[in-house]
């Protein structure tokens, strides 16, 4: 069993990262693309925050090794951090700076750190699922002792690649964990109005893939479920799905005020915040001092990341022409 303090540390680091990224994006691109004006905008593009969903990333990734492969969504900072990426290089990427994980070519929506097995956030909903099943198949073909994990949202289950990828994983009995982060909102629309049937775990069950549904704001519950599912996968029992009910505290994209949400729903979500509940449990267990130490360290870490990213150089414009392809790279206008 993973120690709650360790899970708490990951959650607090993600929250600190998201809060800092949000602050740095103020005045940036709003939902719909209109500039909101004012101040220096250091994170310029669309920023999809995972604030409120930290327990899922922390609880699942606690059971992964650097050799395990991960695909993520447009809301992927938490997964990237939890998989082991360096927060300074992540922040540099959001700031569009040369030392960023992607050299400034991807930004928030494409954040990735292949060195820790994080194969990328993705700007296309459900696009990570086929890539993850292929990664799992590649690991199997190469007889490597590792698994693939794929995070996706509840909106993704209504795209064809979700059904294709689950079927595919079942057919070839691949070592892959599907993790549905069900925050019950597809971009800005209530998912229940757009989804027939009971959702991700039921669809997995229909294809013979064992699934578990958990309270995705309870990090210990997520961790315990992930431990069991991942142990099954590593034992060669084929794919599994974890359906985590969670809460998105923010809008779809950073400057989306989310006026379409009922105030009582938002209040309920904030009241069951996974970080606050994990902290209360730690205090009950007499670990309040350790929790405070974790919070201070996270703040210091992210403050330093912001300072480094603010001072980091932009990529040289010539980088626009590199890393495209080996044969016939973009030489002709």
């Amino acid at each position: 069993m993973i120690d709650l303090l360790s899970l708490y540390r990951t959650m607090v680091r993600i929250r600190a990262f998201e809060d800092a990224a949000e602050a740095a994006s103020q005045g940036g691109v709003s939902w719909g693309g209109a500039a909101t004006g004012g101040g220096e905008v250091r994170v310029k593009g669309p920023l999809h925050l995972s604030t409120g969903q930290e327990a899922v990333a922390a609880g699942v990734c606690a059971h992964l090794h650097p050799t395990d492969l991960l695909t993520s969504t447009h809301r992927g900072h938490g997964h990237t951090l939890a998989k082991g990426a360096d927060t300074t290089r992540m922040m540099c990427e959001l700031f569009g700076r040369a030392p960023g994980t992607n050299g400034g070519k991807g930004g928030s929506m494409h954040i990735a750190d292949f060195s820790v097995g994080m194969l990328g956030a993705n700007g296309v909903v459900a696009a990570g699922l086929p890539i993850a099943v292929g990664a799992a198949q590649g690991l199997k073909i190469r007889k490597l002792d590792a698994i693939a994990v794929c995070f996706f949202g509840d909106g993704a289950i209504n795209r064809g690649p979700f059904m294709e990828a689950l079927n595919w994983a079942g057919v070839y009995q691949l070592p892959v964990l599907f993790v549905c982060e069900d925050n019950r909102i597809s971009a800005t629309t209530d998912s229940s109005a757009m989804t027939a049937g009971p959702g991700a775990s039921a669809r997995a069950a229909a294809m013979g893939i064992a699934a578990m549904q958990v309270d995705g704001t309870d990090v210990q519950a997520v961790s315990d479920a992930a431990a069991q599912l991942i142990a099954d996968i590593r034992a060669g029992h084929g794919p599994r799905l974890l359906h985590a009910l969670t809460d998105r505290h923010k809008g779809h994209v950073s400057v989306d005020p989310a006026t379409y949400r009922k105030p009582e729903d938002v209040a309920a979500a904030l009241a069951r915040d996974g970080i606050a509940r994990a902290r209360a449990r730690l205090v009950e267990q007499g670990q309040g001092a350790q929790a405070e130490q974790i919070e201070r360290a996270a703040k210091a870490e992210i403050d330093a990341a912001v300072a480094t990213a603010s001072a980091a150089p932009a990529p040289d414009p010539s980088a626009a022409f590199t890393d495209i392809q080996t044969i016939g790279a973009g030489v002709w206008a």
Partner: protein, 326 residues
């Protein structure tokens, strides 16, 4: 090594088998591959499906799930494999357009060069056997437009062998477009002879006009060149072989001698790849340029309707004469 006569389909199968023999990370996946592919292009010289030789884990029969066929291949590539993806016909590749354009082609760039996506996506093109509007298209221009992709369209058995070997070695995502009407074409193939990507082949030399084409239309252009020679017009014929990157040097050098260019392709002429070549030549030379492609109509079923989309030797020769008289 000496050459052997084989079909266009067998030539590709030999290239794949040779590469799979050497490299255990090379795999093939697609619908009906276990049986040897719908066109028999995954069968060895003995006629046996390659799956029998390499196993079902390396020649993988897949569900009819084009998005995941290509998406999974991207994942396999990131996990250290070199997948060959079979999409049956280019028309079906459109079911996987996100995976081709947004995932395979963009991966290397948008993740800052952290990964590579070596893969070959075979998507047969062209009019074939009254197959109508959804099984007959030539969509090479769609893919040549996308940064990150290499686009190949072989016209002979030797090229279908040598270009596939090169594509498998390239390390890039390659859109590999075989022509369905060429599967049975026979020709000499030297096993293991790689044809470099991006190098055109001068099929025939001539001083009066440069014909640039690829895939099956190279045959029609060769026939047209014969007809024109009988009328005293010497056409130089260039088989482009690779559409991205295309061999600009060879084309420009030829046009510098002939002063006239006609690009011929089976694809719809409007916004076809011929426009790119014609415009490039016009930008770099004072040559007279023209294009000849299909009218902007879907391919019809009835033979008389289908024929309206075909570009035969007569149409090509007439276009050359118009260009000369212009």
């Amino acid at each position: 090594m000496s050459s052997t006569v084989m079909t266009y389909a067998q030539a590709a199968a030999l290239a794949l088998a040779q590469t799979m023999e050497k490299d255990p990370t090379v795999v093939a996946l697609g619908e009906d591959l276990g049986r040897g592919g719908v066109f028999g292009q995954y069968r060895g010289a003995d006629g046996a499906p390659l799956a029998q030789r390499f196993g079902a884990d390396r020649v993988i029969d897949t569900p009819i799930s084009e998005s995941t066929i290509v998406g999974a291949a991207v994942g396999m590539a990131l996990a250290g494999c070199t997948p060959v993806v079979e999409l049956r016909v280019v028309d079906f590749a459109l079911c996987a357009i996100d995976e081709i354009v947004n995932q395979a082609a963009k991966n290397r760039y948008m993740f800052g060069g952290q990964g590579r996506v070596p893969m070959v996506m075979r998507m047969p093109i062209g009019i074939w056997s009254s197959s109508a509007a959804q099984h007959s298209q030539s969509l090479e221009a769609w893919f040549a437009h996308i940064p990150g992709l290499v686009v190949v369209a072989p016209s002979t058995p030797a090229d279908n062998h040598g270009l596939l070997l090169a594509a498998l070695q390239s390390g890039d995502p390659v859109v590999y477009m075989e022509h369905k009407e060429l599967w049975g074409t026979q020709g000499p193939v030297t096993p293991g002879a790689v044809v470099p990507l991006g190098q055109a082949r001068v099929v025939r030399e001539g001083a009066d006009v440069t014909l640039v084409s690829w895939s099956r239309q190279v045959q029609a252009c060769a026939q047209a060149a014969e007809q024109l020679a009988a009328q005293g017009v010497q056409a130089e014929l260039i088989d482009l072989r690779t559409l991205w990157p295309w061999d600009k040097e060879t084309v420009l050098a030829s046009v510098a001698r002939t002063g006239r260019l006609l690009v011929v392709h089976e694809a719809v002429q409007v916004a076809g790849f011929g426009a790119e070549i014609a415009a490039t030549v016009a930008e770099h030379t004072a040559a007279r340029v023209a294009r000849l492609g299909a009218p902007r109509i879907p391919v019809g079923y009835a033979p008389g309707l289908e024929a309206e989309s075909r570009i035969g030797a007569d149409k090509i020769a007439a276009a050359v004469l118009r260009l000369i008289e212009r």
